[in-house]
């Protein structure tokens, strides 16, 4: 076999048949859903957040082997990490782990959908905490003093990152 079908090595096929961290979390602290309109891949990510770290993360949905394998690897990387570390997860981390650095443009969306969902889940979580923090203060106070440590600028940056992934 040669060419593009090379991406279907053992690891990808195994992950797609037996995805890791696949399922739902009861009462998650944050949940986010997104889909790829062109191919119909559809992913939900649930997270439990304990203080400053991701204590549990699961994904569910429908997707191709690339999407399933990348979602598995992503959730493995994110589990137990601090929110700051999760924020730093880069597409190279996922693609590199699965040997997909040279994935053709049309399949990149399959590989990175779950990372987009994770980043979106994170800013949704940080945004809701920012709002809670702000509600407890007088207007004009720097929200950066709050528990999550996130600022409105952080959230905007995350949103941009998520939107610009592919």
């Amino acid at each position: 076999m040669s060419g593009n079908a090379d991406i279907y090595h053992e690891m990808i096929v195994d992950y797609s048949r037996n995805p890791v961290n696949f399922g739902k979390i009861e009462n998650p602290d944050v949940t986010f859903h997104d889909s790829n309109p062109l191919c119909g891949d559809s992913i939900d990510i649930d997270m439990k957040i304990d203080g400053e770290a991701v204590s549990d993360i699961k994904f569910h949905g429908k997707g191709c082997a690339i999407c399933m394998a990348c979602s598995s690897v992503l959730t493995e990387i994110a589990k137990g990490k601090s929110l700051d570390d999760v924020r730093q997860i880069d597409k190279g981390d996922i693609l590199g782990e699965l040997g997909l650095e040279h994935l053709q443009a049309v399949r990149i969306k399959c590989a990175l959908l779950s990372l987009k969902v994770l980043k979106s889940a994170l800013y949704t979580y940080l945004g809701s905490h920012l709002a809670e923090d702000a509600a407890g203060k007088t207007a004009g106070t720097d929200a950066n003093d709050g528990g999550s440590g996130a600022t409105a600028a952080d959230i905007d940056r995350l949103k941009e990152e998520a939107a610009g992934l592919y």
């Binding site: 040669s2 060419g3 593009n4 991406i7 279907y8 797609s16 119909g40 082997a65 690339i66 399949r107």
Partner: protein, 416 residues
């Protein structure tokens, strides 16, 4: 002039299509099986378009110089070719549009906005392309009307009892449906639907995008009120299609686009409209591609639509038989070959169609994976997507064999 074509002659047609001799992924011959999406173009079409641009490119209908006259003649001649090809009595009823999508949007806008009101019902089917759903959703939302569906059964055919139930409400303003499903290949019982709608006094729109390229279509004897199809699915260029509307209805429709060519007189605050069909062809039309569509019609006419249908029945039967031996493969749509066109949707039980298409592509075989712009049907079938192979005149049994080999590779990699 139509001739009888021996199966071997279809093989010979391949020489007319330069793209079919190219290689992909290095040295692999191209097996093109995505004809429901778009078809390849023969030299006759490509050369006709080039000839227009090389030799008589000019804007049509107004200028009096030689080039403009030649261009206008060539453009208007195609209206005659279309009329003959799908049997339309009056050329004034033929509007050139960008494609089926624009045709249906034009009807939903120019006819729908004056004929559909609050609590009225628009009926479509579960196997429609998005282009025959979304324009009606927009209309229904604007007017407070309802969009209702004729369901599909497990065999991929329409449940016509649903049509009767909708018609019995007395609120149905239009029934709009595809003559052939672009996903399942199901050939709609068009005559039966139109007959029931006529009895109820309800107009019908037929989406012929998948039917006109593959079988003899006779609009005059069909009895529908609106008919739409695209050029690029029948060897013609992209960006050109046809909307046919019964004259008394077309006469009553408000303009779709305003601009040049569609007017009779323009004053500061009001205008009057040009005759049919020009009232609906605002702006400089797609002259080159309309002329290219004419060449495609000539090409298909020379082969004969009955011969094309026979060829596709032969190929589809062969493909269905061979595909049924692939382990873990589910094939959708009617089992009866006479009730389906040359479109086969399938899924492996445990492999996503996107992965299937990629592995298959590696052997030079182009099939489609995805929802095929038919998400309502995907939901009904409870799948996110399917793989789809679709045939046309230049496909051969060797193409089916190439598909088979590549599907065996999928089965091996994913251990289905």
């Amino acid at each position: 002039m139509q001739r009888t074509v021996h199966p071997d002659q279809f093989e010979g047609l391949r020489r007319d299509f330069p793209i079919l001799s190219r290689r992909v992924h290095g040295d692999k011959p191209l097996t093109y099986l995505d004809n429901a999406a778009t078809t390849q173009k023969p030299n006759q079409v490509i050369d006709t378009i080039s000839d227009y641009y090389r030799n008589y490119n000019a804007n049509i209908h107004r200028a009096v110089y030689a080039l403009a006259e030649e261009a206008t003649d060539a453009y208007e001649n195609v209206r005659g070719k279309v009329a003959e090809f799908v049997n339309i009595g009056n050329k004034q009823e033929i509007v050139f549009v960008r494609g089926t999508t624009e045709a249906i949007n034009m009807v939903a806008y120019s006819w729908g906005r004056d004929n559909v009101g609050r609590d009225d019902i628009i009926v479509t089917t579960e196997y429609e392309h998005h282009s025959n759903i979304v324009p009606w959703q927009l209309l229904a939302q604007e007017k407070g009307a309802r969009l209702e569906y004729i369901r599909t059964d497990d065999n991929g055919e329409l449940v016509l009892d649903d049509l009767d139930a909708h018609l019995a409400t007395g609120r149905v303003k239009i029934v709009t449906f595809s003559m052939m499903s672009n996903v399942l290949g199901t050939i709609t019982d068009t005559a039966e639907i139109i007959s029931r709608c006529k009895d109820a006094g309800v107009p019908t729109l037929v989406d012929g995008a998948q039917a006109v390229p593959h079988m003899k279509v006779d609009i005059a004897n069909m009895g529908c009120d609106f008919f739409a199809f695209s050029g690029h699915k029948m060897l013609g260029p992209t960006g050109v299609g046809v909307l046919w509307v019964r004259k008394e209805i077309l006469d009553s429709m408000r303009p779709f686009h305003g601009g040049g060519d569609m007017i009779r007189e323009v004053h500061k605050h009001e205008s009057t409209w040009n005759d049919l069909p020009y009232k609906f062809e605002a702006g400089t039309p797609n002259i080159a591609d309309v002329i290219g569509l004419g060449a495609a019609i000539d090409y298909l006419t020379a082969i004969g639509m009955e011969n094309i249908r026979k060829h596709e029945i032969d190929l589809t039967s062969y493909a269905l038989e061979r595909l049924s031996s692939v382990p873990g493969l589910i094939i959708y749509g009617p089992k009866d070959i006479n009730r389906r066109g040359g479109v086969i949707s399938f899924n492996f039980r445990s492999v996503h169609p996107h992965d299937v298409a990629q592995i298959v592509d590696d052997s030079g075989v182009s099939i489609r994976s995805g929802h095929h712009c038919a998400q309502v049907l995907m939901d009904k079938m409870d799948v996110a997507a399917t793989s789809r192979a679709s045939f046309y005149i230049y496909n051969t049994r060797a193409d089916v064999d190439a598909l088979m080999e590549s599907l065996k590779t999928v089965a091996r990699i994913f251990k289905t």
